[in-house]
């Protein structure tokens, strides 16, 4: 009886100590845990990274991660049917480069007709990195996110390649169009809506959000993006200076932050909230030089090494556990 009450006293003491420790950690805005999500590492590239060639060889030196996506099912319009996206990151000469790669059977780069939707991709970072990670769907009011969004249609609508009605309907015949060049008949463009901009210089926008319904274009458009579709696969490169002025995500060598991805498939009429999204991953900006060599081993050899290594470890553990049990039984 006395032992039972002493057990209770001991457990009460343990719980009290735990609560005090947890309170101290919480007040210091610390979490007693280490992130176990996979990490996208952006190493320093010794070679320049061409923005206009997302398939450039330099990307072979960036370590990829393969990220599972799921449909966006939080707010209407819901949807998204993309399986995975492969991401690589590098930095060079003070700029961060992120390349996304995903399978897409068709290249959808025009929104000239009402039922055309464009392929698109986006990367998202917390504006301020800390212990509390914002909601991966557009952030929180107290923890906004910085989004870089690329659209294939913005790429075809950049510079001299702007699509007009005649490009989509070559045989269209217009007798008279009286309001051409009159701003009041182009309200979105006249009000500065970047979606309606015809003088766009980049296919990627710099956006900010602090929960659903708050997505807006940032004042400073400093993100570049370029994609290429080849043989059923999109490769899109985003780039921006590591450190910029303003309330945007900041990056520096040796630091880590979070990153999430989203992909839209125009052929499936995906737009707005109809998209495939990932959770937040860790993004590390490493000062190491990207070699991507794998210590001279071939890809197959390294793959085999990893698989065999894991199998051996699993086997040893199983054998050890079995031994543990049988020895214990006979003891």
């Amino acid at each position: 009886m006395g032992t039972l009450s002493s057990s209770r006293r001991l457990s009460t003491g343990i719980l009290a100590l735990v609560l005090v420790g947890a309170a101290v950690l919480t007040l210091l805005d610390l979490r007693l845990a280490s992130s176990q999500t996979i990490t996208l590492v952006a190493k320093r590239s010794e070679n320049a990274i061409p923005l206009d060639d997302p398939s450039a060889d330099v990307w072979d030196k960036g370590a990829p991660i393969q990220v599972p996506l799921s449909g966006q099912n939080v707010v209407a319009p819901k949807g998204g049917d993309q399986g995975t996206v492969t991401a690589r990151a590098l930095h060079h000469d003070g700029k961060l480069y992120i390349r996304l790669e995903w399978n897409d059977e068709s290249e959808d780069a025009s929104t000239g007709r009402q039922n055309d939707f464009t392929d698109a991709a986006a990367v998202q970072f917390p504006v301020e990195h800390g212990e509390s990670v914002p909601a991966f769907c557009m952030g929180n009011p107290e923890a906004p996110v910085n989004i870089w969004q690329w659209k294939a249609s913005w790429q075809t609508g950049t510079g001299a390649s702007v699509l007009d009605v005649q490009d989509v309907y070559p045989n269209v015949d217009v007798d008279l169009y009286p309001f051409e060049d009159e701003a009041e008949f182009y309200p979105a463009s006249a009000s500065g809506n970047i979606v309606a901009r015809a003088d766009r210089t980049s296919a990627a926008d710099n956006l900010l959000a602090g929960s659903f319904g708050t997505l807006r274009a940032a004042e400073d458009q400093m993100v570049n993006g370029m994609g290429s579709w080849d043989d059923g696969k999109w490769r899109v490169v985003f780039s921006r200076d590591l450190e910029v002025a303003g309330e945007y995500a900041q990056f520096s060598e040796g630091d880590s932050t979070n990153v999430a991805f989203a992909v839209w498939d125009g052929a499936r009429a995906e737009r707005d909230g109809i998209k495939s999204v990932s959770q937040f991953m860790t993004l590390e900006i490493s000062p190491e030089i990207a070699t991507g060599g794998g210590g001279g081993l071939s890809g197959e050899a390294v793959g085999l090494f990893v698989v065999v290594g894991l199998v051996v470890i699993v086997g040893l553990a199983a054998a050890g556990s079995y031994l543990l049990y049988t020895r214990r039984q006979t003891a």
Binding site: T12, R31, Q36, T37, G62, L69, S211, G309, L324, R328
Partner: protein, 344 residues
């Protein structure tokens, strides 16, 4: 009570044998369960569902308060998970008589604790990988210990095998990426996403297997109220997929780490069976540890985001496998080796 006894030293090098009273263990485990549930409800659900809450000042203050309490619960649960894992592995290690078995257990436990400490302090990839590997070995060891027993029915073996299998699938995805990173090899690990998807299938199957193993024999204990609560909860989740503001993906990706690539009804059925089993186990006074193990696994989710979630999986599998049932009332302490209760 944690106490050393030296009367049964079988070998010269044997450590003092430690035991822990059930009263102490139950109270600390209950503290962990409460903190873990608060963490999942306040931190991983409320603040994330908060994106749907109207943006009034009051709602904002409420969400911030929930986030603060959730962070406090997270830290409490994390500390308790560390304390319990250390305690139970230590007790297990000192109670095993065989030198080889003790060495295996001590090596895995030591690797787990050292790598956990270093991962928390440094956050380096190598220590994260070492912790992940040690956690994998610990879960595997606990699972295989159950598999090797002859006094256990088939259904608990299947259920634990599916749980352990799912964890191994996720760990393969995670650890293979870390291994490639440490090798500085710029390629994708083979079958990474495929294995991750197979693991999600195993999780769904585990829901049914858990019911088959422990829920079916005692489902009447869940009672009408218990079953009604489970059905109501699952119905709300199911119906929410049809509303403009749905919590489905929050429950899926954020909370449990599922990508929902299978049809929704499959997940809902699995969740319902799992929850009925949890309720039934907690209504059965002899199945407290089973219910606790199932609840800890549910809180940890399929894709553990943090070190603390891995510890919950170790504890959960340990309780399900009966390996951690090494408790004994101090008042009637007998220096038996690990008492292995069949997880029926």
């Amino acid at each position: 009570m944690l106490s050393p006894t030296v009367s049964r030293m079988s070998y010269k090098w044997q450590l003092p044998r430690l035991s822990v009273s059930e009263t102490l263990l139950r109270q600390v485990v209950l503290g962990l369960v409460v903190a873990a549930l608060l963490e999942i409800v306040l931190l991983r659900l409320t603040t994330r569902i908060g994106v749907h809450v109207p943006r009034s000042e009051l709602a904002g203050d409420g969400l911030q308060a929930a986030s603060f309490v959730g962070s406090f619960a997270f830290n409490s649960a994390s500390i308790l998970a560390i304390v319990l894992t250390v305690l139970l592995l230590l007790v297990m290690t000192t109670q095993v008589r065989d030198r080889v078995a003790r060495f295996v257990l001590a090596a895995i436990s030591g690797a787990l604790m050292i790598s956990l400490a270093m991962s928390l302090v440094t956050g380096g990839a190598a220590w994260d990988g070492a912790f992940g590997l040690a956690a994998t070995l610990a879960v595997l060891m606990l699972g295989v210990t159950l598999m090797a027993r002859k006094d256990v029915r088939t259904s608990p073996r299947v259920a634990v095998a599916l749980v352990v299998g799912a964890y191994l699938c996720y760990q393969y995805y995670s650890l293979s990426h870390i291994a490639y990173r440490l090798l500085d090899y710029a390629a994708l690990p083979p079958l990474g996403i495929d294995v991750l998807r197979w693991g999600e299938v195993l999780v769904v199957l585990a829901g049914a297997a858990v019911f088959w193993a422990w829920g079916r024999p005692r489902w009447r204990l869940a009672g009408r109220v218990g079953i009604a609560l489970v059905v109501g909860f699952v119905a709300v989740v199911g119906l929410s997929t049809m509303t403009p503001s749905s919590t489905t993906s929050i429950l899926a990706l954020w909370t449990t780490g599922m990508s929902f690539f299978l049809p929704s009804p499959v997940y809902l059925l699995s969740l319902a069976l799992y929850l009925v089993t949890v309720v039934a186990c907690f209504r059965d006074k002899d199945a407290f540890w089973l219910g606790t193990g199932l609840l800890l696994l549910l809180v940890a989710g399929y894709m553990p985001e943090a070190t603390y979630h891995h510890l919950l999986i170790i504890l959960g599998v340990g309780f399900l496998a009966g390996t951690f049932n090494i408790v004994e009332e101090a008042s009637e302490r007998t220096p038996a080796p690990i008492s292995v209760h069949a997880p029926n």
